[in-house]
């Protein structure tokens, strides 16, 4: 009975063994199958990674082109400008373009590596070597990541190149502006005052300091400024008088010439020559007035040197109030005593509400 039991046991054991083996075999089989599947999956992932790597390499290629174009534009700017800033920016753009190029090469290489690894992973999977397949797939992924990183670098480099190109552009434009913008030089000091009293007090100071080429600007003719500025009386009356007398003489000569010398006409027996004097009076008077008027107008324009539309004082925006409600004193650089610091100090001592140096363009 015991043997039987033993046998039974043995049998049982052997059957257990076999079943164990079978199950082990089965599990081995399962393992192999799973491994193969895993290897396949890994190979697929490796494929995907390789595809991504290739896409990244393509991006890197685009970035490289962009960077190259930016560098070319920057170079163009450099050719057309002498600004050192353009040169600097162009060098930067070129460096970035080179970097983009290197990154693109790296990305390309990484992509081809990734592709190779992916292929190896497939092969390994087909051969039933899952470990190798997995390892190859991991490598492919790593390569793909590198390709992506390189592509990203290339993109960054391209961006940098573009930024550098913009800098070059701006630098070039700024330089061009510098070329266009004429040089300026000081033309006059302009001091603003709020009340007639302040203006007159300041004018007296400037007068006493001995300036000649200076002026007060008011919205209306102000009393007391003639003395405060130390102006001599105007001579316009002389011009008017001379013009008026010219008119008077013209009238006498014209009437005598036309009605007496050139073509005497007897009208109603009235006398010609000196006897016609009473009838000449109205026209003598009118021509005197007419020529006095013209003499005064042109005398005024001559003495004031008007019309003059380009005076540097118009460069000041604040000066627009001179025809509204503010009072100004201007001292021009033409004055012998003009000195950037001393004149400023003098005007500041008069307590103007604003003081500015007005510049004019040269040329």
């Amino acid at each position: 009975m015991a043997d039987e039991k033993n046998d039974e046991t043995q049998e049982k054991a052997s059957s257990e063994e076999s079943s164990e083996k079978a199950s082990r075999e089965m599990s081995d089989e399962l393992d192999t199958k799973a491994a193969a599947e895993e290897a396949d999956a890994a190979a697929d992932e490796a494929d995907e990674a390789a595809a991504e790597a290739e896409a990244a390499a393509d991006d890197a290629k685009d970035s490289e082109h962009v960077a190259e174009r930016a560098a070319r534009d920057a170079e163009y700017d450099e050719d057309h400008s002498e600004s050192p800033r353009v040169e600097e920016a162009t060098a930067k753009a070129e460096a970035a373009a080179e970097r983009a190029h290197a990154d693109r090469d790296d990305a390309k290489e990484a992509a081809s590596e990734a592709k190779k690894d992916a292929k190896a992973a497939h092969d390994a999977a087909a051969e039933g070597d899952p470990e190798a397949a997995k390892a190859a797939a991991a490598e492919a992924k790593a390569e793909a990541a590198r390709a992506k990183a390189d592509a990203k670098d290339a993109e960054d480099a391209a961006e940098e190149a573009i930024a550098a190109m913009h800098t070059a552009d701006e630098a070039k434009l700024a330089h061009a502006d510098e070329d266009l913008e004429p040089e300026k030089r000081p033309a006059l000091y302009l001091a603003q005052y709020e009340t007639p009293n302040e203006l007159v007090a300041a004018a007296e100071k400037v007068r006493d300091a001995g300036y000649e080429s200076w002026d007060c600007h008011t919205p209306y003719p102000m009393h007391g400024l003639d003395e405060a500025m130390g102006l001599r009386p105007t001579k316009i009356g002389i011009i008017s008088f001379v013009a008026g007398m010219t008119g008077l003489v013209t009238a006498v000569l014209m009437i005598q010439f036309m009605n007496n010398w050139d073509y005497p006409i007897n009208i109603g027996g009235k006398p010609v020559g000196a006897g016609a004097f009473p009838s000449m009076v109205p026209i003598m008077f009118e021509l005197t007035i007419l020529l006095t008027g013209f003499g005064t107008l042109f005398g005024l324009l001559h003495l004031a040197r008007l019309p003059r539309h380009h005076h540097p004082i118009f460069e000041s925006d604040r000066f627009e109030a001179a025809t509204d409600d503010k009072f100004f004193i201007s001292i021009e650089v033409e004055d012998e005593k003009f000195d950037l610091d001393k004149t400023r100090a003098l005007l500041e001592s008069t307590e103007p509400s604003h003081l500015e140096l007005v510049e004019e363009e040269i040329g």
Partner: protein, 486 residues
């Protein structure tokens, strides 16, 4: 400067409301040219433009057909044309009086109305010039009037008062334009400096000649202004005197009187003030200028009209006195029959047929302004508006009476006639209102209609308050300074 301050002891005050700032003046005047025209402006502008078109059409018709389309006839060789000429010229005189004579008399209140009145002078003289230019019959030969060689190889006759008129009116127009423009230069600079758009800046800038308010310029400018005022004063007196010579140097009873020059000048100022006031009342309301053209200004202008109205009334009376006192029957006939109507009757026992025009003249010119003795009337805007229109009508009738009633029934009854205006007489006269008003409305819209710089000049804060003693203060300070050191 105390000379310009109002004398409080005799009741003088500053004309503008207390606290008016320089900027207020700039704003009030300049804004009109910078904002859209008020509706009132358009309401006036389109009819004016229509009347201007009527004038152009009338002139075209007249030039094509000849002056026969007017009602002028024998014996009324001069009629509406010369009436209108004298009337328009007279209108202009107020402008020069206000800008020149009141300037010489230091009447600072003139600054609120002078620009406006000067513009009216220029436009009125332009309107006036149309009539004699057409009355020559062949206006394309009007250059015969000027002393330039022509194909007749003849020179003008300088002994003729009509020739004097050519010189007087042209000089008057030229000087008025120059005076007006010189006064405008600082104000155009103000508009230039306020301009927002480049176009405005360019146009006003060009017209302002680069004016920069420089006191060295103001010094010449003020003297030039004084000279213009000084020459315009005798000029304005001469122009209407010369116009009156057109009549006075003839032998026509009613024209051949020595009172004519002062009588014409007084009448010109009278009618000019009336039209300035009529238009000022409209513009003041349309553009809201009540703070710059105050009731005090209007009051003063009414006093002027009262005074000149009395002068004109005196001249009317004196003409009658001389007509009677001279014992000249022709003179008496013109005044008592042709004008007054009932003094002398003709053989059929009739009054002079145009008696009504004389009475229209007297009631409008002499009676109507008498209401201005009352301060209430002088300061009532509806009253002064009505009275100024009466005066404008009356002054037109004055010229009509002088011209037509002297001509239509003179020495020989066989040559008597009458005068009836034709439609072209009427339309041409109305048309010149179109020219005047169109120019005037464009002026108020685009040019500062009140003299900005001159009004600022009259404000109480405009001039330094201490300049008389300033030098002394300095001297004292210099003396006093070393004292503490001793």
């Amino acid at each position: 400067m105390s000379a310009h301050a109002p004398i409080h002891e005799i009741g003088e005050r500053h004309m503008l409301p207390e606290g008016t700032t320089f900027n207020d003046v700039t704003e009030t005047v300049a804004r009109i040219t910078e904002t859209k025209a008020p509706r009132g402006w358009w309401i006036l502008f389109f009819p004016s433009l229509g009347l201007l078109g009527l004038m152009v059409a009338c002139i075209g018709y007249l030039v094509t057909m000849g002056v026969g389309v007017w009602g002028n006839n024998a014996p009324a060789y001069w009629a509406w044309d010369i009436t209108n000429f004298v009337w328009w010229i007279g209108i202009g005189h107020a402008g020069t009086l206000i800008s020149a004579i009141l300037f010489l008399f230091r009447q600072n209140w003139r600054t609120s109305i002078n620009r406006f009145a000067e513009a009216m002078t220029v436009f009125a003289v332009l309107c006036a010039a149309i009539f004699p230019a057409l009355h020559t019959g062949r206006p394309w030969f009007d250059y015969y009037l000027f002393p330039i060689p022509n194909q007749m190889a003849m020179w003008p006759n300088f002994k003729s008062p009509l020739m004097w008129d050519v010189f007087a009116v042209n000089t008057y127009l030229t000087i008025s334009v120059i005076f007006w423009y010189v006064g405008l230069i600082p104000d155009l600079a103000t508009l230039r400096d306020r301009s927002k758009s480049l176009l405005r800046k360019r146009i006003y800038g060009a017209l302002a000649l680069g004016w920069r308010g420089s006191h060295r310029h103001w010094q010449h400018y003020e003297r030039a202004y004084l000279i213009f005022a000084a020459i315009s004063t005798p000029l304005v007196l001469s122009v209407h005197s010369v116009v009156s010579f057109d009549f006075a140097t003839s032998v026509i009873p009613g024209w051949h009187t020595t009172i004519f020059p002062p009588y014409f000048v007084a009448g010109a100022v009278f009618s000019g003030f009336a039209l300035v006031l009529t238009l000022m009342l409209i513009v003041r309301t349309v553009f809201g200028l009540h703070n710059l053209v105050t009731i005090k200004h209007l009051d003063l202008m009414n006093k002027f009209m009262l005074a000149t109205g009395i002068m004109v009334g005196y001249a009317y009376a004196m003409e009658f006195f001389i007509a009677w006192y001279s014992g000249n029957p022709y003179e008496s006939w013109v005044f008592f029959h042709n004008r007054l109507g009932f003094g002398y009757l003709d053989e059929q026992g009739n009054w002079g047929p145009l008696w009504w025009s004389y009475w229209a003249m007297v009631s409008c010119n002499v009676l109507a302004p008498q209401v201005f003795w009352s301060k209430r009337m002088r300061t009532s805007i509806p009253v002064m508006f009505v009275v100024t229109i009466f005066i404008n009508i009356g002054m037109w009738f004055e010229r009509f009476v002088i011209i037509v009633t002297s001509l239509y029934r003179d020495f020989i009854p066989g040559s008597w006639g009458s005068f009836e205006p034709t439609w072209i007489d009427i339309c041409l006269y109305l048309g010149t209102f179109g020219l005047f008003m169109t120019l005037f409305l464009l002026f108020v819209r685009w040019i500062p209609m009140i003299a900005i710089a001159e009004v600022k000049y009259t404000l109480p804060q405009a001039h330094p308050t201490h300049d008389d003693h300033h030098e002394e203060d300095h001297a004292h300070a210099a003396e006093a300074a070393p004292a503490p050191a001793e």
